[in-house]
Amino acid sequence: MLSKIHHVGVVVRDLEQAYGFWRDVLGLPVMVVKTVVDQDVTAALLKVGESEIELLQPLSDTSGIGKFLAKRGEGIHHLCFETDDVDAELAAAKSKGIRVIDEKPRLGLAGMICFLHPAATRGVLVEYAQPLDEEHH
């Protein structure tokens, strides 16, 4: 079951510069900052109510996020729903014939994650995330 918006992913050129607006002007606290090596990205989660804003800074031009930034500039990248069972949600999506990007969940900043293909979701890149126990917040 999908319980809430876990986060909205936003691609930025520079995390430190982005904090100047999202943290300092909007007042959103930074909860976690991590570099995800296999995605060539450094990401920060900033809390807003029960959800978060995920700021994504690419570390190379050739990563997925780097290509997004080069093609479309800074902006909204994806919408992530939280679930307590990402395996079941991914299986349910497949059983409905929804095109997926990840055939099985993988470890991401928000826990175990997977992405659905935006062609199946009205142009919206949708992520499912099952936070790891110690990452629930």
Binding site: V11, F21, V25, G27, G49, A93, L116, A120, R122, V126
Partner: protein, 126 residues
């Protein structure tokens, strides 16, 4: 300023009813009351609104070409007056817009890292 929560996100689409049905079928999200006259679904304390951008609007210009996609984040703030003061103090450009019966501050996307971000005080209704 203190942003309290995401009130809703906007999926821009030429077919709001169809897009809402897609999301409802895929994600089994319950409907909520319409947001500014457009269909919406509930997810936790937030909502997803499906809106056709009005011609000539900033949202239409931002999306362009009739594409569909995630186009806006609307956050609820504790005080719109405080938010307005904070934006002015920080030199963040914004416009004041009507969102249904609510007054909203629309932050210039150039200052919000390409994100069309609106700030409201209280939940946005029909």
């Amino acid at each position: 300023m203190q942003a309290k929560k995401i009130d809703h996100v906007v999926v821009a689409t030429p077919d709001p009813t169809g897009a809402a049905a897609t999301f409802r079928g895929h994600f089994e999200l319950p409907p909520s009351a319409p947001i500014t006259g457009s269909p919406a679904l509930t997810i936790g304390q937030a909502r997803i609104a499906f809106i056709t951008p009005q011609g000539g609007s900033a949202l239409a210009a931002a999306l362009g070409g009739g594409r569909e996609g995630l186009a806006e984040v609307c956050m609820e703030v504790t005080s719109l007056a405080d938010a307005e003061a904070a934006l002015r103090q920080a030199g963040i450009p914004f416009t004041v817009e009507a969102k249904g019966a609510s007054r909203a501050l629309a932050v210039d996307p150039s200052a919000a890292h390409g994100v069309r971000l609106t700030l409201v005080e209280g939940s946005v209704g029909a």
